[in-house]
Amino acid sequence: MDDVVIIGGGVIGLATAWRSLGRGLRVTVADPEPAAKASYVAAGMLTPVSELTYGEEALLHLGLASRDRYPAFVAELEEVSGRDTGFRDDGTLQVALDSDDLALLGELRRFQESLGIPAETLTGRECRRLEPMLAPSVRGGLLAPADGSVDPRRLTAALLAAVERLGGTLVRERVAEVLTEDGRAVGVRLDGGDVVRAHQVVLAAGPWSQDVKGVPDGALPPVRPVKGQVVRLRSTTPFLGRCVRGLVRGSSVYLVPRADGEIVVGATQEEMGFDTTVTAGGVWELLRDARELLPGVTELEFTEVRAGLRPGSPDNAPVLGASALPGLLLATGHFRGGVLLAPVTGEVMAELLATGSMPEVARPFSPGRFQE
């Protein structure tokens, strides 16, 4: 019998598995296609500062806590797995294209400063000295020097390798239902009929978390799928030195460069249920805005476009901790921040699984906040 069975092998389930194995727990992860959904589509921006939103200060602090854990997290992971994660901490430049966009950026800067986060304001020329490919029309920018990126595909491959190295079990099968005895979760039944028993069950199935059978209604996390289309381009010559986010006449686009020349352009945000169709309009909007910021993108190779489903909660923040069903813990609802929040989520979930106590940093995100 295992200590923990984790439903879902995306970046959150795998980070939780790896950190729990590190605490000496016996862990099984069940997922028919691990690391194949949102974790595979995500761009991997680690940008809590440049994503700051009014009313989401608690989420900012969780994001900062996770970003600050990243260097040690990837160093240890790369050591254990023997794989590179593509982690970069070379900053994020946020730029504005016209004066309306610049005014919005100024508002963001004042909000950041009011929270004690120093922001470096740059003129259009200073932005272009940092990133010469930026359009001459860029009016100004904000540099978040500590915001960076990671390659989620490499990160999850490394997590899978680390989980196996530490003796975790990966079952490539869908969970048919959570098993309960005397009002307590005691394991899962797989599609094929096999049963995995465990002292604790972690539900980390992203937007599919609400569809898991065998769990009473009140114990399921209130998550919904939020579709995002992401384009991948490739450059054979140096194109971008760091992540660039842009406000282009009110709409937002980002470009994330990788060491191997890949440039990820994202992302749409659509409330379309479980639909993952790639649309002409989605691709067009991304490339239109990317081209406004960086006219040279039209010269790059178009290598891929894909749509993923983010698990969105009603307040955009993750749902972490004990559910209303004893023995069932939740780790989902990370919305746009799953990759960013993986280190802190893995750590707090492992702590909770090992000791029964939730660390302070994650307490504002307990599932109980939706039960009013």
Binding site: G55, E56, Q210, V223, R224, E271, G273
Partner: protein, 257 residues
């Protein structure tokens, strides 16, 4: 005071119609809609899947707010008519907020496509509420085409510039036999009050609330502003004068009680 808004025979206590675009999260949206007191809220049909759970439509259902589907994102009469029909099938309502946009930069209505789409939809039995320019002639033509209300803009969508041509809004109000709803461009509470003082029957807004630093507080401000503006309109404002006129008489007070 009994003073309901009546559109196509349906009555609403609230004269504030809300939009949902720009809300940072579903929770924030729900708090803002509740604080606004709205009974009618418009949703972009191209941006939601009516079948999915946890969506904007779920929020509206939970709050008991009637859904007004809109055709945001349509550039031709053909697209708008098709979108309205899809909305009618999906949501089982024949009401539609008709938007036909001319270009992405200004998001101003295309008057020719708008009128064309309005005529087709009215003929097809829709209750049409068109988002229109602040042009009194076009507003009248839309009314003649059988629209259930006219919804002139104060200024471009999302601009927060307020009512740029109050005179035109007054001209539209003066002539209209259907409700006039000031739609788009409002930035803060005084803009909403002004719309009502000019004689509009209702106000439709989204961005001013959803992108405010505290959306629920701004929604509450808008609710009060709409009520205040409506009451001021009914009360009848004083004429403007060049010079002062003392509010208390100068003579005869000493003999009073």
């Amino acid at each position: 005071m009994e003073d309901p808004l009546v559109i196509a025979g349906e009555t609403f206590e609230s004269r504030l119609i809300m939009g949902t675009g720009g809300a940072p999260s579903m929770n924030v949206l729900e708090e803002a809609l509740t604080a606004s007191g709205t009974e009618l809220t418009t949703v972009a049909m191209r941006r939601v899947d009516p079948g999915s759970r946890g969506s904007v439509l779920d929020v509206l259902g939970r709050c008991g707010i009637r859904v007004l589907p809109n055709t945001a994102g349509c550039f031709t009469a053909g697209e708008a008519v098709l979108t309205a029909k899809l909305a009618r099938d999906a949501l089982e309502t024949n009401w539609v907020k008709l938007e036909v946009i001319a270009d992405e930069r200004t998001l101003l209505p295309d008057p020719i496509e708008l009128l064309d789409a309005a005529e087709q939809l009215v003929d097809d039995g829709f209750v049409v509420l068109p988002y229109t320019n602040d042009d009194p002639v076009l507003a009248h033509r839309l009314e003649q085409a059988g629209c259930a209300a006219v919804m002139p803009l104060g200024s471009p969508i999302g601009s927060g510039l307020g009512i740029r041509n109050p005179h035109n809004i007054e001209l539209i109000v003066e002539r209209a036999q259907v409700p006039v709803v000031l739609d788009a461009g409002l930035g803060t509470a005084s803009d909403a009050a002004l719309a009502m003082e000019l004689g509009c029957d209702a106000v439709l807004l989204a961005t001013a609330v959803t992108r405010a630093q505290s959306p629920a507080l701004m929604a509450s401000a808008m609710r009060h502003a709409v009520t205040a503006g409506r009451m001021a309109r009914l009360a009848g404002r004083i004429p403007k004068r060049r010079y002062a006129q003392a509010s208390s008489p100068w003579q005869g007070l000493s003999s009073g009680g």
